[in-house]
């Protein structure tokens, strides 16, 4: 675990004894293997957020301790044990996969440490398992596909064909879509996790003649599917709809023209024109020489919310009640206008329809088309019984 001690001169404002000790944050994410791009995206977004407040949170120095979960729950669990028991971190963040989160969250929460998710949003922790010390500032897993279901219903689309990998997140995403979509689902196909070739499924899909295709394929699977869909000549025939991370900057450069014309529902896109968002995109491109994805934006927002909350309580993260309350109530300059946290510590936010097109430099981006739904909460908040 590489220690990234962010630069911080001794603060002149350091009045209390707390201020001398840095805030320790454990950052568990996937840095190696095919999914390593996700960890980098989240970490760089988070670091940029920290830098925007001078490398400090609430005036206190920060010690960010990185750990690689390799995309595996057991490695994530081991990393969490080390961060909590040996390094004594106060917050665990960075986790990108829901299955890693499910393995990590319980022991971390049991130890009285905060879980602060900047990506993974499994439904369990939004509902029954919701916890006073568990916060999600990205999105609950089901919400982007719920938004797409709302949009296609609004447009009067009748016959939709669904595709996803055969694993829990895939089923959750399609369930989210079916929760809000009122038309007919004429096909619902689950493919093997990590499948390379979709020619057989695409042939079946073409024969079913749907009005629209909604798909959920993260990472490499998404690249495979979108390329093959386009090569089959279907893109012009049947429009393709997906969630943000199947069509964001972690995969778009590899998809190239194959993705142009496809639609994504999202809570943030690089084409947002509010000042906070514009500053973020400019800073990110200057720092890392590429366009940020929604994942990087969530992470950036996550760091900024931490700073706002800690500033409001004078940096005293040790006062857990105050910190919890501050996270819930403080307002900050989010790149997502209207973003706030619900009673289950998960976001209420706006969802938009974007379409992939090339920007003036020929790079594919998610271009904003319209608002789908304002102030959309997740669907599990009623199952959560948190004291207010």
């Amino acid at each position: 675990m590489k220690k990234v001690a962010l630069m911080f001169a001794a603060s002149l404002l350091a009045a209390s004894a707390h201020a001398e000790e840095p805030i320790k944050i454990g950052f568990i994410s996937t840095f190696s293997g095919p999914q390593g791009v996700l960890g980098r995206e989240l970490l760089e977004g988070f670091k940029l957020g920290l830098e925007s407040s001078g490398g400090k949170l609430g005036g206190r120095a920060v010690e960010l301790i990185q750990a690689d979960d390799q995309g595996k729950p057991d490695a994530g669990r081991q990393a969490a044990d080390k961060l909590v028991e040996r390094d004594g971190v106060q917050i665990v963040t960075g986790i990108n996969f829901s299955n890693v989160m499910l393995a990590v969250a319980k022991p971390v929460l049991d130890a009285g440490v905060f879980v602060y998710s900047i990506n993974a949003g499994p439904s369990q922790y939004a509902g029954q398992l919701c916890n006073p010390n568990y916060f999600n500032v990205s999105f609950q897993n089901d919400t982007p596909s719920e938004a797409m279901g709302i949009y296609l219903t609004q447009k009067g689309v009748k016959r939709v064909y669904l595709m996803a990998p055969n694993y829990p997140a895939g089923k959750d995403f399609l369930a989210g879509f079916k929760r809000t979509f009122k038309g007919d689902v004429i096909g619902e196909v689950y493919t093997a996790f990590g499948q390379l070739d979709y020619a057989a499924e695409i042939a079946q899909l073409r024969a079913a003649k749907p009005d629209a295709v909604f798909f959920f394929y993260p990472g490499g699977m998404g690249i495979n599917f979108v390329k093959q869909y386009s090569q089959a000549g279907l893109k012009a025939e049947i429009p393709l709809y997906g969630p943000p991370f199947s069509l964001d900057q972690t995969v778009l450069p590899a998809m190239g023209d194959a993705a142009v014309g496809a639609f994504a529902s999202t809570f943030w896109s690089e084409s947002f024109d509010n000042p906070a968002s514009k500053k973020f995109v400019t800073d990110f491109e200057a720092a890392y020489n590429r366009i940020p994805s929604p994942s990087a934006a969530q992470a950036y927002d996550g760091a900024r919310l931490l700073d706002a909350a800690l500033t409001s309580i004078g940096g005293k993260i040790e006062d857990k009640d105050a910190f919890r309350k501050a996270l819930q109530t403080v307002s900050f300059d989010s790149v997502r206008p209207g973003f706030r946290l619900n009673t289950n510590h998960h976001p209420i936010q706006d969802f938009y329809l974007t379409q992939i097109e090339n920007d003036d430099r020929g790079r594919p981006i998610m271009a904003l088309r319209e608002v789908i739904v304002k102030q959309h909460p997740d669907s599990f908040v009623e199952k959560c019984k948190l004291p207010l």
């Binding site: 791009v37 493919t191 020619a199 057989a200 024969a207 490499g220 690249i223 495979n224 090569q231 190239g256």
Partner: protein
């Protein structure tokens, strides 16, 4: 299922099989002649795809980039053979599995250092990007037809090379009786480097043919490696003919399994097929070694 759809799925199966053959040919060749299990074959597949993507991006020449990338992958293979793997021809299969397992880790991280963690684009030139109408109601992607053609060409080329040329005779002599071959003036060492380089080039070719339809990313070789191992073993280790038959069999069975069976069973079907075939013929369909 209508006739056009059935036909399309049959072509899909054969095309996927040909793809697997490209990957397995080099693997089985190296095993058959040098008696070496090379798990890093998947890494050469990845390296081929990354090189082709980079060269194509730099030059805009699709075919030339592919040929150059094949040569470069062959070079990587030759260096690997000279520096390391030639020491392992006489070692146990366990040692071979271990050293090439280590190489997978090394190559994955080297590629991540050089190209970064984001998967790289390998687009198609417009000539190959679309699809053609094979019959009314059957549109088929042009590039997949190109894969079919390349696969059949490679299969034919290998057959001629091994069965009907002087080089092929040396190769077969080197495999079956090394001292005798040396005595007869065959330079076994040179033959082995060339065969390994050829195997690497084939792996690279498979990677770059897969590049435009799948993601060019770190670790892209491993799932394909597993499939290629299955093909090699079912066909009979060392038999190029066996690899061809087994690859087509796997391609068709996998494609049909995916559309006809529930997904859980669909992903197991080729492993069930492999276990069944090996239980019936423990040395594969076309056994070479005894």
């Amino acid at each position: 299922m209508g006739l056009p759809l059935l036909l399309e799925q049959a072509i899909n199966g054969v095309q996927f099989g040909v793809m697997l053959f490209l990957m397995s040919a080099g693997l089985t060749l190296v095993f058959g002649i040098m008696n070496l299990i090379n798990l890093a074959h998947g890494s050469l597949y990845m390296i081929g795809a990354y090189l082709a993507a980079t060269l194509y991006q730099m030059t805009g020449q699709f075919v030339l980039s592919f040929l150059a990338a094949m040569l470069l992958t062959a070079l990587v293979g030759a260096v690997l053979e000279r520096l390391l793997l030639r020491r392992f021809y006489d070692r146990s299969h366990l040692d071979q599995v271990l050293v090439t397992f280590g190489l997978i880790l090394v190559f994955n991280d080297l590629v991540r250092m050089l190209w970064g963690p984001v998967s790289v684009p390998l687009p198609l030139p417009s000539l190959l990007a679309g699809s053609v109408q094979l019959m009314p109601g059957l549109q088929y992607p042009t590039f997949r037809l190109a894969i079919l053609a390349v696969g059949v060409l490679v299969a034919g080329g290998l057959y001629v090379l091994i069965s009907h040329t002087r080089v092929g005779m040396w190769v077969r002599a080197g495999a079956s009786d090394r001292p005798m071959a040396s005595a007869m003036g065959v330079n076994v060492e040179t033959i082995f480097v060339l065969v390994f380089a050829l195997g690497a080039a084939l792996a690279g070719l498979a990677g770059m043919m897969a590049g435009p339809i799948t993601a060019v990313q770190i670790g892209m070789g491993e799932p394909v490696l597993i499939l290629a191992l299955v093909v090699t073993v079912i066909g009979g280790i060392g038999s190029v003919r066996g690899a061809f038959v087994a690859a087509l069999l796997i391609g068709v069975v996998d494609t049909l399994g995916r559309i006809l069976l529930p997904p859980a069973l669909g992903s197991m079907v080729i492993f069930i097929l492999m276990a069944t075939i090996l239980a019936w013929r423990p040395k594969g369909l076309f056994s070479v070694h005894g």
